[in-house]
Symmetry: C2
Subunit: 199 residues, 2 copies
């Protein structure tokens, strides 16, 4: 039975994924116990992000600069665009540190159930970048689910142009995994796409 | 690889109990996706709590009013004080809705390891309330652990006065539990403290 302001904080925190009412209460107690070390830094970090975070008008990434740090980086290859479902997937690819092109965030996948059609994926924005940026290749880095692969097909059809390569991520055995535990589809894909080993 | 401000928010959130780096990232993505519905209310709730939350100078509860809502409520029995380890335990007792007295928050338990002695528990503050508030009974609602019960003994000794009742919580079978799964100590306590059933 904490005060009204504290209670509202608990209820707002409890709406975050991974936190329920019980863990939100624990988190708020820790925040209240460590006001200078935790509560105030969190307040300041949230206020700054709420103030500055914007959707990048070019690629759809979320960042505190406009355009985002990826689009603004002159060292990145504008001729290579990676199409991702959402910002979470963009961040996941950025964590690998191995992709040096730019992105296009769809913001979702085609879904009849959720009423998301081809017009909701910002494809005109992507098409508008093809000429000016002299785009050579589009990589469709979409989930290997039915919705993801359906979306990939529709996007690939729409982007078909002479001289433009549209590629997809490789399917196969994830690193560190036992063959015994893999599903048949993945094993099948790995067999079909087998590669000669460099001796 | 989100921007610096977003990254700082993720790292600060990850220090809350129940959240790690991975779930903090997920939480921040949800916050960024739902700015008006979630990010801004959370920012406002945090700012208000950071601004107004104070330790109650009477009982040690944390609230946004001084003294706290419990101490300020004239409908609560000032003659009955419940001693708790921390604010989490105070909130737990308040959730039952069955206690209508006031509190004293120790802020910890006696611990040679952590260097917490009897002088660190604010007992002078508690003793100063005994006379003016005409306190009749002190309930020691402390954890049923070695530290909790040691602390209870020390506090009980210190508060011994003619006419003042010092009581502790009952030990016994928790509601909803199977006897088969209970430890011997609890069963023993429940047997020793058995009560005649009202027919």
């Amino acid at each position: 039975m904490p005060g009204e302001a504290i209670d509202r904080l608990i209820q707002t925190l409890a709406r975050l994924p991974g936190l329920g009412p019980r863990s939100a209460r624990r988190a708020v107690l820790v925040l209240l116990r460590r006001r200078a070390a935790l509560l105030e830094p969190l307040r300041d970090a949230l206020a700054l992000v709420a103030e500055t975070a914007r959707d990048c008008p070019v690629c759809g990434n979320i960042d505190t600069t406009t355009p985002c740090a990826v689009c603004a980086d002159p060292g990145r290859d504008a001729g290579l665009i990676c199409v991702v479902r959402d910002v979470a997937d963009l961040w996941a690819l950025e964590r690998t540190g191995s992709f040096r092109g730019r992105y296009h965030v769809l913001g979702g996948l085609l879904s009849a159930l959720d009423g998301i059609g081809p017009d909701d994926l910002g494809l005109e924005r992507l098409e508008a970048r093809l000429g000016p940026d002299q785009v050579r290749e589009i990589i469709l880095a979409l989930p290997a689910t039915v919705e993801g692969q359906t979306t990939a097909h529709v996007v690939a059809d729409r982007l078909e142009r002479p001289g433009l390569i549209v590629s997809g991520l490789a399917h196969g055995v994830p690193l560190g995994s036992e063959l015994d535990y893999l599903d048949d589809g993945t094993l099948n894909a790995a067999l079909t796409a087998r590669r000669p080993l460099q001796g």
